[in-house]
C-alpha cells in the first residue's frame, strides 16, 4: 500500500504519547502495563533511518530518565541502542509481517528493560530473578498493544503488511 503522507504517523505517535501519560495512569500503572512511549519509539524506528531512530531513542530515554531517575543516562543509552537496533534490523532482515512486528515490539521492550536494569546497577540476581518476570510480562502486553496499533493504522501509515 502506498504511503499517503507523513502526518498520520506523527498523529499516531502523538496519540501513543497521550495514551502513555493519560490513559495508562488512569487505567493501570502496574509493572506489567504496556509502555506506549516505547511502542511509539519502535514504530518510528522501524520506519526511519538508524540515525533518526538513535536520536528519537535518545530523546525518549531522556524523558524516562528525568521522570524515573534511578540512574541518569541508563534510559538514554538503553533506548538509543534499542531504537538503532530496531532500525537496522528492519533494514537488514525484518519482513513486513504482523508477527515479525509483534516480535520487534516484544524483543525491543525486553531488551530495553534488561539494559536499564543492568546499567542502573541492579544486582545480577535481581536482573535474572524476580524482576525478569515483570518485564517479560510488560514486553508481552506492549507487543499485544503494538499489534492492535499496527492493525489500526495499517491503511494510514506505510507498514506494508502482508495481506
Amino acid at each position: 500500500m502506498a504511503r499517503r503522507g507523513a502526518w498520520p504517523l506523527w498523529f499516531v505517535l502523538g496519540v501513543l504519547t497521550l495514551l502513555h501519560f493519560y490513559l495508562r495512569p488512569r487505567v493501570y500503572t502496574g509493572q506489567g502495563a504496556p509502555d506506549f512511549l516505547l511502542l511509539a519509539l519502535l514504530i518510528l524506528s522501524i520506519r526511519s533511518r538508524p540515525g533518526t531512530a538513535a536520536v528519537a531513542g535518545f530523546v525518549v530515554g531522556l524523558v524516562a530518565d528525568v521522570l524515573s531517575p534511578a540512574r541518569f543516562g541508563a534510559g538514554m543509552l538503553a533506548h538509543t541502542l534499542v531504537a538503532y537496533g530496531a532500525a537496522w534490523g528492519r533494514a537488514v532482515f525484518f519482513a513486513d509481517n504482523l508477527l515479525v512486528n509483534a516480535g520487534v515490539f516484544f524483543v525491543g521492550t525486553w531488551m530495553r528493560n534488561f539494559l536499564v536494569l543492568l546499567l542502573s546497577g541492579f544486582a545480577a540476581e535481581a536482573v535474572f530473578g524476580s524482576v525478569t518476570l515483570w518485564f517479560t510480562l510488560q514486553a508481552i502486553t506492549t507487543a499485544l498493544a503494538g499489534v492492535l496499533v499496527v492493525l489500526a493504522i495499517r491503511h494510514r501509515v506505510d507498514f506494508r503488511l502482508e495481506e
Binding site: G51, A54, G73, F122, E125, Q138
Partner: protein, 280 residues
C-alpha cells in the same frame, strides 16, 4: 552517485548514533548530584506538561476509591475521637508529673505517586508535591500501612523519593516491644514472591520470632519513631556467630502505592496518628 549518497547517509547515521551513545555514557559517568539537578530542572520546565497530565490522570483514577476510603476513615475517626479529649487531658497531666515538655503535633503533605513504565520504577518514585507544598529533602514518605522511603530531590511542583528498595536506603529500627534494635536495608531476592528487606545488626543472643513487627526507632534524626517497616519472616543469614540478619516482609509495596504522605514534622516526634491505626 547513488552509492555516494548512500555512503554519506550511512556515515551520518553512524555519527548520530555515536553522538547519542557518547552523550548517554557521559550522563552515566556524571556525578549523581549534577544529573539529579539537571533532571529536576528539565522536569520542572520542559516536561512539566507531561507530569501535570499524568498527575491529573492519577487523581482521576484514584479519586472515587479514595472518597469511599476517606469516608470510612472519617467514620472510624469520629468514633475514636469521642475518647480523645479525655486521653489528651490525662496525657498532659502525666507528662507534667514526669516533667516532660508538651507533645509536638505531627504534620504532613499528601502526594500522588506518578508511576513510570521503567523497570526501575519502585526504586525511585515521582511524587506530585514539591517545595511549594512544603516538601524538602530527607522528609520521610509513608503510606497508611507503613514506611515507603525518603525524599531525595525536590522541585517546585514535584519531588523524587527513594523507596526502601533503593540500594542506599537504611533506617534505624526496633521491634514493636522495644527489645531488639537493628538497621533495616533492602535485599535482592531471586524469589519472585519475595521482594524483601533485611533486619541487620541483631546480636546473636537475641531471637526475633516470625511475625514480629519492626518499627522505625527514631534514631538518626530522619525518621520519627513508630512507623511500621515490616514483619519478620525467618533468618536470612548468620554472620560468623555474632550477628543474625532477619528477613523482613515490607508493609508497603512501592510499586503499587498510589497515594503517600510526606512527614513535615520534626524528626524527634513520634509517627502521626494516621499510622498508629495500622499498629496491632
Amino acid at each position: 552517485m547513488h552509492r555516494a549518497t548512500d555512503r554519506s547517509s550511512l556515515r551520518r547515521d553512524t555519527v548520530l548514533f555515536l553522538v547519542c551513545v557518547t552523550l548517554s555514557v557521559g550522563a552515566l559517568l556524571t556525578p549523581t548530584r549534577w544529573t539529579l539537578a539537571f533532571a529536576n530542572t528539565i522536569r520542572e520546565t520542559a516536561f512539566l506538561p507531561l507530569v501535570l497530565l499524568q498527575q491529573r490522570a492519577e487523581e482521576g483514577r484514584t479519586s472515587r476509591g479514595r472518597l469511599r476510603e476517606a469516608m470510612a476513615q472519617r467514620d472510624s475517626a469520629a468514633l475514636a475521637a469521642q475518647s480523645v479529649t479525655g486521653l489528651r487531658v490525662e496525657n498532659e497531666r502525666l507528662r507534667l508529673l514526669l516533667g516532660l515538655s508538651t507533645r509536638q503535633a505531627g504534620s504532613f503533605v499528601p502526594a500522588e505517586v506518578l508511576h513510570q513504565s521503567m523497570p526501575t520504577d519502585g526504586r525511585t518514585l515521582l511524587l506530585s508535591a514539591g517545595s511549594r507544598a512544603g516538601v524538602s529533602a530527607y522528609q520521610p514518605v509513608v503510606a497508611p500501612e507503613g514506611l515507603v522511603g525518603v525524599v531525595s530531590r525536590v522541585g517546585p511542583t514535584s519531588s523524587i523519593a527513594n523507596s526502601w528498595a533503593h540500594p542506599e536506603f537504611r533506617v534505624s529500627a526496633v521491634t514493636a516491644d522495644g527489645a531488639v534494635l537493628g538497621i533495616v536495608a533492602p535485599s535482592a531476592s531471586t524469589d519472585p514472591s519475595l521482594n524483601v528487606l533485611e533486619f541487620r545488626g541483631v546480636a546473636y543472643r537475641d531471637t526475633v520470632p516470625d511475625g514480629t513487627l519492626v518499627l522505625t526507632s527514631g534514631l538518626g534524626g530522619v525518621y520519627p519513631r513508630g512507623i511500621p517497616i515490616g514483619q519478620v519472616k525467618g533468618v536470612r543469614r548468620e554472620e560468623l556467630g555474632w550477628e543474625r540478619v532477619y528477613r523482613l516482609i515490607p508493609m508497603v509495596n512501592p510499586g503499587i502505592v498510589s497515594h503517600v504522605l510526606l512527614l513535615t514534622s520534626p524528626a524527634d516526634t513520634s509517627a502521626p496518628a494516621v499510622l498508629s491505626d495500622s499498629l496491632p
